[in-house]
């Protein structure tokens, strides 16, 4: 009976599912409901069959975004942290190495942001892509200001004004991305919170420094920067774990 029912399915379907399907049918005596259901299933398989067994390219693309985004977030945040630790927070360095390292790290973080945005955008596309766009615009402005500064191109006032605008825009974009990530709730919510809080604390700290409260301001900048970097690292680790979860799990 089971072998007869199986023969009703297309050969290609049987090649992929035949063995396990037969094992399921053998688990219990087949009632009229089961037989009718299998007959309808066979008809459906003939009508529907296309590309069975092939993983969706679209889904592969999403997994790839997640993986690249995770690694980029970790590398970018670690590089910024390393530069800060090695230089004690000073942006001046020999032969412009420090600003160049920070720009590279920002570019890597932007790749991380793009990867994670692509993965999360299906749940809240407007918020996620707005956050990405704001951060990307801010990062480009930072690049223009920094490269102009390194090359000595353009008036100094213009460059000095551009950099804070870029930093604030990118910071607000990161806050928005943290909020979006928290709402989507697929990656780490702790990391999302840290990412959302960090730039706000750093911005308040920067304003406070300029108002004769240097120590408090610097403390807030430090806390904000650590929170920002910890947020990216946590989200990066969460993204890689999520990606790996589909290749390391074994049957319970």
């Amino acid at each position: 009976m089971i072998s007869l029912l199986l023969r009703l399915y297309p050969a290609r379907w049987r090649a992929r599912y035949g063995d396990e399907f037969a094992a399921v049918l053998e688990e219990r005596p087949l009632g009229p409901f089961d037989v009718a259901d299998v007959l309808l299933g066979a008809l459906d398989a003939h009508l529907h069959l296309r590309g069975l067994g092939a993983a969706s390219q679209h889904a592969k693309g999403f997994a790839m975004s997640l993986r690249i985004g995770g690694y980029a977030a970790i590398v970018g945040a670690a590089l910024i942290g390393l530069v800060i630790v090695l230089t004690g927070g000073r942006t001046e360095g020999p032969e412009s190495a420090v600003p160049i390292a920070l720009l590279v790290a920002l570019a890597v973080l932007l790749v991380g942001l793009a990867g994670m945005s692509a993965f999360q955008a299906r749940s809240d596309p407007w918020l996620v892509w707005s956050a990405f766009a704001m951060t990307a615009v801010g990062t480009v402005v930072i690049f223009i200001a920094s490269v102009s500064d390194l090359a000595g191109v353009g008036p100094g006032d213009w460059r000095d004004g551009l950099l804070p605008i870029g930093l604030v825009t990118a910071g607000l974009g990161s806050v928005l991305f943290g909020v979006a990530t928290y709402r989507v709730s697929v990656l780490s919510r702790t990391g999302a919170l840290a990412l959302a809080i960090g730039p706000v604390a750093a911005l308040i700290g920067a304003i406070t420094v300029g108002q004769d409260a240097w120590e408090l301001g610097m403390l807030l900048v430090l806390v904000g920067t650590v929170s920002f970097l910890a947020g990216w690292l946590t989200l990066g680790v969460a993204a890689i774990r999520l990606d790996r979860a589909s290749s390391t799990l074994r049957p319970a």
């Binding site: 094992a23 067994g53 319970a252």
Partner: protein, 107 residues
């Protein structure tokens, strides 16, 4: 965009039941059928199960693991977990709306 469960037509409901069944770990076909029946009180036929499994696998929402004897376990992918979570949130919103209109507490 990744496939929404409602795009699976008449297999949307079995697909949702299968995804929920796999949300606590990989299961093979018969274990999914038993789990769904235990959870909903309604049987899931083998023909419907495999039609839905094939569609979910095609769309990358689940993936097959190496067979154990002749039984092949399936597990949720990261994308499948995201789609399931989103679908359940939407359903919860709809359930809450219905219960509010009926004047029942939403819990």
């Amino acid at each position: 965009m990744v496939t929404q469960i409602p795009e699976l037509g008449r297999f949307a409901e079995p697909a949702l039941l299968i995804l929920v069944s796999l949300s606590d770990g990989p299961k093979h076909g018969y274990a999914i059928m038993a789990d769904v029946e235990a959870g909903t009180g309604r049987p899931l036929g083998p023909g419907t199960l495999y039609a839905a499994l094939a569609r979910l696998e095609e769309r990358g929402l689940i993936e097959a693991l190496a067979p154990v004897d002749r039984r092949r376990p399936y597990r949720l992918t990261a994308v499948g977990a995201t789609v399931l979570a989103e679908q359940l949130r939407e359903l919860k919103g709809f359930v809450d709306l219905g219960l509010r209109r009926l004047g029942s507490p939403t819990g």
